[in-house]
C-alpha cells in the first residue's frame, strides 16, 4: 500500500491501461501539452506520445463523436471532458450514438469508450460550471455510470471502465483530486456495479456516492458520538448498473434510510434509490426514506450561499434524526 491522491490514482489507472493495451488512447482539451486542466493526465504525453494523448480543439460534440467513431472500429478511447458541464454540448453523441449503437446495429458494434472528467461543484465556479448530471446519464440504457469517492475506488473502477466493452460515463470530482488514500502497489481492479459498505452500522443506512461519501462518514461519526446512533454508510460507487441488492440488504438490517447526493433533488439518483427501497423493502421500513441533496437552485457564486446549497454532515444528521423519530 502507498498513499496517493485521487488525481494520481486516476493517472496510474490511465498509465497502466495504456501500457496494457495499445488500443487505449486519451483525447480531450488540454490533456497533452498542458498536462491536463486538472493534471490528471500529467506525464502521459511524454510517455505515450501525441498519437495516444491527443489535444483537441474546443469542440466537445465533435471530439466525443470522434471517440465513438474510433470505438466503432475497435479502439478503446478515453474521452476527457474538462468538466461534465461542457459535455452538455456532446450529449447527443453520448446518448444517441454511444449508448444506442450496439442495439441499433443488432449487436454488431459494441462501443468500448470511457467519457471522464470532473462533475459537480468545486468552489465558486458559478451556475454554469457547478452541475452534477449523474441522474441524467443513469437514466439512459446502454450507458454505465460510475462515480468513485476514494483513490482506491477511482483507480480500480477506472481500470474496469476502460476494460469494459460498453460506454462508461466516469464522474470524478474536482474537490476530490487532492484527497489522499491507500492504493495497493500491485495491480487490481474494482468491478463495476458493486456498492461498498464504507462503514458498518445497525440503526440507519446512509447511501452516498462521490463527494457525499465524506459527508456521510462525518455524519456517521457525529451520530455515533452525539446520538449513539450506529449508521451504515453505503457507497454506491456505480450508479448504473445500481447495486440494488446491497442497498436493500442494508436497509433490511437497519430499517431506516437517508440518501445523500450533491445533485439537484428532482428526479435525482436518490429518487430512484428511494423508489426501489420502498418497493423492495416496504415492510422493513420503520420510517420514510429521506433524502439530502444539493439545493434546488442554479449554483450561486457567493461563497456563503454556495456552501448552503451543498449537502452537509449536519443536514444528514438531521435527516437521520427524522427517520429515527428523535425529537
Amino acid at each position: 500500500m502507498s498513499t496517493v491522491t485521487y488525481r494520481d490514482a486516476l493517472n496510474q489507472a490511465l498509465r497502466e491501461e495504456m501500457e496494457r493495451d495499445p488500443n487505449v488512447f486519451l483525447m480531450g482539451e488540454e490533456v497533452g501539452v498542458y498536462q491536463g486542466a486538472y493534471k490528471v493526465s500529467r506525464g502521459l504525453l511524454e510517455r505515450f506520445g501525441e498519437q495516444r494523448v491527443v489535444d483537441t480543439p474546443i469542440a466537445e460534440l465533435g471530439f466525443a463523436g470522434v471517440g465513438v467513431g474510433a470505438a466503432m472500429v475497435g479502439l478503446r478511447p478515453i474521452i476527457e471532458f474538462m468538466t461534465w458541464n461542457f459535455a452538455l454540448l456532446a450529449i447527443d453523441e453520448v446518448v444517441n450514438s454511444a449508448a444506442k449503437m450496439l442495439y441499433m446495429s443488432g449487436g454488431q458494434m459494441p462501443i468500448p469508450i470511457v467519457f471522464r472528467g470532473p462533475g459537480g461543484a468545486a468552489l465558486q465556479l458559478g451556475a454554469q460550471h457547478s452541475q452534477a448530471f449523474e441522474s441524467w446519464y443513469a437514466h439512459v440504457p446502454g450507458l454505465k455510470v460510475v462515480a468513485p469517492a476514494t483513490p482506491y475506488d477511482a483507480k480500480g473502477l477506472l481500470k474496469s471502465a476502460i476494460r469494459d466493452d460498453n460506454p462508461v460515463v466516469f464522474l470524478e470530482g474536482e474537490m476530490l483530486y487532492n484527497t489522499k488514500g491507500e492504493v495497493p502497489e500491485e495491480e487490481y481492479v474494482v468491478p463495476l456495479g458493486v456498492a461498498d459498505v464504507k462503514r458498518e452500522g445497525t440503526d440507519v443506512t446512509v447511501i452516498v456516492h462521490s463527494k457525499t461519501v465524506a459527508v456521510g462518514m462525518k455524519a456517521a461519526q457525529q451520530l455515533e458520538e452525539e446520538h449513539d446512533i450506529s449508521a451504515e454508510v453505503v457507497d454506491l460507487r456505480t450508479i448504473r448498473p445500481l447495486d440494488s441488492q446491497a442497498i436493500v440488504q442494508s436497509v433490511q438490517k437497519t430499517n431506516r434510510c437517508v440518501i445523500v447526493e450533491e445533485g439537484w433533488p428532482f428526479c435525482g439518483v436518490g429518487a430512484q434509490v428511494a423508489f426501489e427501497i420502498q418497493r423492495d423493502a416496504f415492510d422493513d421500513l420503520d420510517a420514510p426514506v429521506e433524502r439530502v441533496t444539493g439545493a434546488d437552485v442554479p449554483m450561486p457564486y457567493n461563497k456563503k450561499l454556495e456552501r448552503a446549497t451543498k449537502p452537509s454532515p449536519a443536514a444528514v444528521v438531521d435527516a437521520v434524526k427524522r427517520v429515527a423519530y428523535i425529537d
Partner: protein, 332 residues
C-alpha cells in the same frame, strides 16, 4: 481512373465495370420503388427515406472504395447499403423489421449496418454521424492502415455544428476521410437557399483549408472520378476532402411527406427528371455500344427477380423473439 476520350477505346473490363454501375443503379431504383409500395401497403412502417434520383452518387462514390474502407451515411441510406454489396434480402428484411434483417430488425430503415463490409450505419440525427466518420478515419491513421472513410450526408447538414467541428479536426489532424455532401437542393421542405448563407457547398471547405470539389451527382462516372481523386488523396497523402454532389430527390423527404407542394413545384420535379442518372447513363452505354437491348432486358429482369425475392424473403421472415428486446443493450 481518369476517363478515356471515347468509350470505344474501352477494354472489356471497363465495359463490364460500367454495366455493373448501371446494374447497381437499376437495382437501387427498383428496390426503392418496391420499398415504397410495401410502405404504402403498411408492410413497412416508421420513416422511409427513398433514394430515387440520387443513385449515381452512392454507386459512383462507393465504387471508388476498397473492400476494407469504411462508409457512414444518413437515414437515406438504402442505396448506399446496396451499392456496398449488402444483399437486397438483408436490407429489405430490415425495412420489414425482421430478424433476418441486417440489424436483426432492431435498427430499421434509418439504421442499416453490416460491419463485415465496413458499412457502419445509417444514422438519424442530422450531422450526428459526421464526427463518427472522423473517428473511423482517426482509427485508421492510429493503426497505420490505409483505410479510407467515406461519409455521406445531405446539404442541410452543413449548417449544423457537428459538420464544422469535424471538418476542422479532420483538416487539422490530416485524417483520411471524405465528406461527400449530397446536395439534392432540399432539406425536407427547406431549399438550400433558405438555410445556407453560401449556396456553393464545396466552398465551405475554405474555412478548413481543405481540398474540395463539386461533382455532377447525376453522372455516375463523374461521381466515381471525383471520389477516386479524394480516395487517392486520403490513402496516399492522408488528407481529407469535401465533395459536393449536385443531385436531386424525386420522392418526398420520406414516404410520409408530399412529393411536391409548398416547397417545390411539379414542374421543377419533372424538369429535374430529365437529368435522370440511370436513363442518361444507359443511353450512353447504348450509344457507345457497351450495352445491347438484350443484355439490358436481362439485367432488368434479373433485378426484378432479385427485388421480388427480397420482398418475399422479408415477408416470409420472422420477427425477432421477444427476448431480443433486452439483448444488445450491453455487451458483456
Amino acid at each position: 481512373m481518369a476517363q478515356p476520350a471515347t468509350f470505344s477505346e474501352l477494354d472489356a473490363e471497363r465495359a463490364e465495370f460500367y454495366r455493373h454501375l448501371l446494374r447497381q443503379m437499376l437495382l437501387i431504383r427498383r428496390f426503392e420503388e418496391r420499398a415504397g409500395e410495401a410502405y404504402a401497403q403498411g408492410k413497412i412502417g416508421g420513416f422511409c427515406h427513398l433514394y430515387i434520383g440520387q443513385e449515381a452518387v452512392a454507386v459512383g462514390g462507393i465504387a471508388a472504395l476498397g473492400d476494407d474502407d469504411y462508409i457512414l451515411a444518413s437515414y437515406r441510406e438504402h442505396g448506399h447499403a446496396l451499392a456496398r454489396g449488402m444483399g437486397a434480402r438483408e436490407v429489405m428484411a430490415e425495412l420489414y423489421g425482421r430478424v433476418t434483417g441486417c440489424a436483426r430488425g432492431k435498427g430499421g430503415s434509418m439504421h442499416l449496418f453490416d460491419v463485415s463490409r465496413g458499412f457502419l450505419g445509417g444514422h438519424a440525427i442530422v450531422g450526428g454521424h459526421i464526427p463518427l466518420a472522423a473517428g473511423t478515419a482517426f482509427a485508421a491513421k492510429y493503426r497505420g492502415t490505409s483505410q479510407v472513410t467515406l461519409c455521406f450526408f445531405g446539404e442541410a447538414a452543413v449548417n449544423i455544428g457537428a459538420f464544422h467541428e469535424t471538418l476542422n479536426m479532420a483538416a487539422l489532424w490530416k485524417l483520411p476521410a471524405i465528406f461527400l455532401c449530397e446536395n439534392n437542393r432540399y432539406g425536407m421542405g427547406t431549399a438550400l437557399e433558405r438555410a445556407s448563407a453560401v449556396w456553393d457547398i464545396a466552398h465551405r471547405a475554405c474555412s478548413y483549408d481543405m481540398a474540395s470539389e463539386t461533382a455532377d451527382g447525376m453522372d455516375v462516372l463523374a461521381m466515381y472520378d471525383s471520389t477516386k481523386r479524394a480516395v487517392d488523396r486520403a490513402r496516399n497523402e492522408g488528407l481529407p476532402t469535401l465533395i459536393e454532389a449536385r443531385t436531386y430527390r424525386y420522392m418526398g423527404h420520406s414516404m410520409a411527406d408530399p412529393i411536391h407542394g409548398h416547397y417545390r413545384t411539379k414542374e421543377e420535379l419533372e424538369e429535374q427528371k430529365q437529368r435522370d442518372p440511370i436513363e442518361s447513363f444507359r443511353q450512353r452505354l447504348f450509344d457507345e455500344g457497351l450495352l445491347d437491348q438484350e443484355t439490358n432486358d436481362r439485367m432488368v429482369a434479373d433485378i426484378e427477380e432479385e427485388v421480388e425475392d427480397a420482398v418475399k424473403f422479408s415477408e416470409d421472415s420472422a420477427d425477432p423473439d421477444d427476448e431480443e428486446l433486452f439483448t444488445d443493450v450491453y455487451r458483456d
